[in-house]
């Protein structure tokens, strides 16, 4: 396993140490593995808490800061945080105005956040939750665990974070978060497996001439394994199911093309060069686009595409200032 690690079991604790020393504007609670803003939540501001398994950096810790999250609970690599962690994050940032939990739809994340919300409510903190379930690689059904949550999470965190910063109340922030969440669709492709440090070897073996289509962000195999294709063909494999799933013409949209951790930027841009015309052809009017590593799967080579149908309010809040390690701009 070719990684910068000491003991594979200490990866999270040690990465948090690096984050703490690199970012004085963040507070890292090493015991609970919670990253929060160093400044306490402004009185009356709704707080946003997200979290999940680690290995998806900059998600979520990299999105803590002005205009986005107030705290993130970092689980072990690919393992949802425990209710205690989420509760600690929640209590650390509640100003009394309530807390929005932003949860990616995985059984573990949902269950642990649910338990944390119960505990927080019992402790007198008002909690609303939004569950992001945007991965069109997974057939949606009430009989199953439903769709995974992937790239739309970044967009939800950004837009809901901006609204909270403006002083909206918990109900309004939650409502918008759910609207953004419902407007997003994602699709991922992996060229290689990732390697979970504690496992020490690639999660799956992938021959040199094959790729996995419809992967999530936990190194799980995808929906199907096919022959390695050109960037042009891969772009189609990503765009088509998203557009198809929307059904109606999409119109104005925010687009995120995220590398999965092992794919360099030059390839991501090349891929986006193929994706952009396909989106245009399909009636997606790309208003904003982010390209880079935003939601990753350790060292997996691959990329995931997210399209969020965006109205004017969403675009305005997308453009609002944000100051985090992973996303940073001013109005």
């Amino acid at each position: 396993m070719k990684k910068f690690v000491n003991d594979p079991d200490d990866v999270l604790a040690e990465a948090l140490r690096g984050i703490a020393v690199a970012h004085p504007d963040l507070r890292v609670d090493a015991e609970n593995r919670v990253i929060s803003r160093a400044e306490p939540t402004r009185a009356g501001k709704v707080a946003l808490v997200s979290g999940g398994g680690s290995g998806h950096e900059p998600l979520h810790g990299g999105f803590v800061g002005r205009g986005m999250l107030d705290a993130a609970a970092a689980g072990e690599v690919f393992t949802s945080p425990t209710p205690d962690q989420v509760l600690a994050a929640t209590q650390a940032v509640d100003s009394g105005a309530g807390v929005l939990h932003i949860v990616k739809n995985y059984t573990g994340d949902v269950l642990n956040f649910e338990m944390a919300a119960e505990l927080a409510e019992a402790a007198g903190v008002r909690v609303e939750s939004v569950v992001v379930a945007d991965d069109v690689a997974v057939q949606d059904s009430t009989w199953t665990a439903g769709r995974r949550g992937t790239g739309t999470t970044v967009v939800v965190e950004k837009i809901a974070g901006a609204l909270a910063e403006e002083g909206a109340d918990l109900a309004a922030v939650a409502e918008l978060a759910r609207r953004v969440s419902g407007a997003g669709r994602s699709m991922g492709v992996a060229l290689t497996s990732c390697t979970v440090p504690a496992a020490g070897r690639p999660t799956f073996e992938l021959p040199d001439d094959e790729m996995e289509v419809g992967v999530g962000i936990h190194g799980e195999p995808g929906r199907s394994r096919v022959k390695l294709a050109s960037a042009r063909e891969i772009a189609k494999l990503m765009v088509d199911p998203i557009v198809h799933d929307f059904g109606d013409p999409v119109g104005p949209a925010i687009v995120l093309l995220s590398g999965l951790g092992g794919t360099p930027l030059i390839e991501q841009y090349l891929l986006y060069g193929e994706i952009a015309p396909l989106l245009a052809d399909a009636g997606v009017d790309v208003q904003r686009v982010l390209i880079g590593d935003y939601i990753t799967s350790l060292d997996m080579a691959g990329a995931s595409l997210t399209v969020v149908k965006a109205d004017d309010e969403m675009l305005r809040l997308w453009d609002a200032p944000v100051v985090t390690a992973g996303l940073r701009w001013s109005a």
């Binding site: 072990e76 425990t82 995985y106 059984t107 573990g108 338990m115 665990a145 496992a199 799980e220």
Partner: protein, 210 residues
Amino acid sequence: MSDAVSIDDLVAWIRAFRDAVHRHKDELTRLDSEIGDADHGSNMARGLDAVVAALNPAPASASELFKTVGMTLVSSVGGASGPLYGTLFLRMGPALASDEVDAETLGAALRAGVDGVIARGKAEPGDKTMIDALSPALDAWDAAASEGFAAAARAAAEAAARGRDATEPLVARKGRASYLGERSAGHLDPGATSATLLLEALRDTLAGTG
């Protein structure tokens, strides 16, 4: 007394489960690699290490024991298995309010626990989860409970193993494996495998009892 177990027996069970999980850690992770995210072995090992540490000194009552086990799992595992295994034990505690734990009470406690898992996780038998090992194990336990602990535990462990094996051809409908759709068939479910270890540990611990 041949038809009741002591706190020490129950603690021994949990320790035996910890040991079994450590012995099968790599296998659990490998199974989870195939249809999940390659962490079930380390999740369970981490949680049970914390549990064993929390059981020293041993709690005074069976209900307190299982409360500690459940709370520790919830707060140290994360993932899907943390809240689910945690709930299993948390729900067992109240069902063991009396100090006399015979085969029927332990069976009832296990059922309360598994009902809790089903309530939390909403999985049904056949969804390719730990329920596929736990549910038949309970039925087997109840059917054999009148013959005493050892017999009940033997029957339950066997039924769990059969349930685990039966997950292989299934298409997962719950948990992370469900994302694979049809590709989830052809693999054992990691949670059903660890649940079988739980019941086998019980069988081994109770082998000497009535």
